[in-house]
């Protein structure tokens, strides 16, 4: 399965069984993308990595 990168429009492959919320990297612009939706496959720029958690 594949979809287009929201940043640069390149074609981004996500393997055959992507998971909701999965992080993938755009092969062209390198932006970290998140699988927002599975049917139809939709990608969005992933939120920034956070270094910390709760209790």
């Amino acid at each position: 399965m594949a979809s287009s990168c929201p940043e640069c429009g390149a074609n981004v492959g996500v393997g055959n069984k992507p998971m909701a919320g999965e992080i993938v990297q755009c092969p062209d612009c390198g932006t970290e993308l998140e699988v927002k939706n599975l049917q139809p496959l939709e990608l969005a720029v992933a939120p920034a990595e956070e270094e910390d958690w709760g209790e």
Binding site: E22, E34, A46, E49, E50, D52, W53, G54, E55
Partner: protein, 259 residues
Amino acid sequence: MIVVKVGGSAGIDREAVAADVAALSAQGERVVLVHGASAETDRLSELLGHPSRTVVSPSGQQSRRTDRRTLEIFAMAALGIETFSYVELLRRHGANGVGVFGALSGPRKHVRAREGERVVVLRDDYTGKVERVDARALAALLESGAVPVLPPLAVSDDGEGLNVDGDRAAASIAAALAADTLVILTNVPGLLRAVEDTGSLLRQVSVEEAETFAQGRMKKKAMAAREALAGGVRRVQISSAQLDRPVRRALEGAGTLVG
């Protein structure tokens, strides 16, 4: 003004901590008590048939998976058991403990976790970071003679409760209230050069050294020390909650001085 953070792991003697805070309060010292909730949350989660789960961040850090049901159980344990107990115990020892929830605000965090080989963003994770402290409300309570008792719970601007790290929440509170000292009480003597050797206590370290030696949960305490000192707090002491009069022993220099 002192902010005391006491851990939520099993084996913490709440009454010893409460009695010591009450004694300080009786001497006119202003004290805010922030506590953890991990052991009670684990126990209650088991009892309610929603056992705790751990997730691992891409960098390998372990943490509690906090879906909505876990957050609700976390609130019952943090507010309904820990905050409740500390207010009872402070009153028993003559101090006016007042449990407060809602003074800590901050954004929900986009938490990433490893799922097998992949990394996913956890959309329904109620974990957050404290960005704002209602210093006016806390100062007003302190002014009225109360000892505010706070759980490691914040609220997002969308009105969602959030599981936050107690050590870093305590650091934010200490900075917001311009506290002189942040005392972090935990179930180890302090920062150890070698984790498995409780004799290898480091009596004084710089923030950089703290972050170098800290392992596991102690990393959070080192991070909290950095944030408190950067926020203007003059002193951070990480010491054991198991000592007799644990808070005053820390103020007298027990454990590790950071900064």
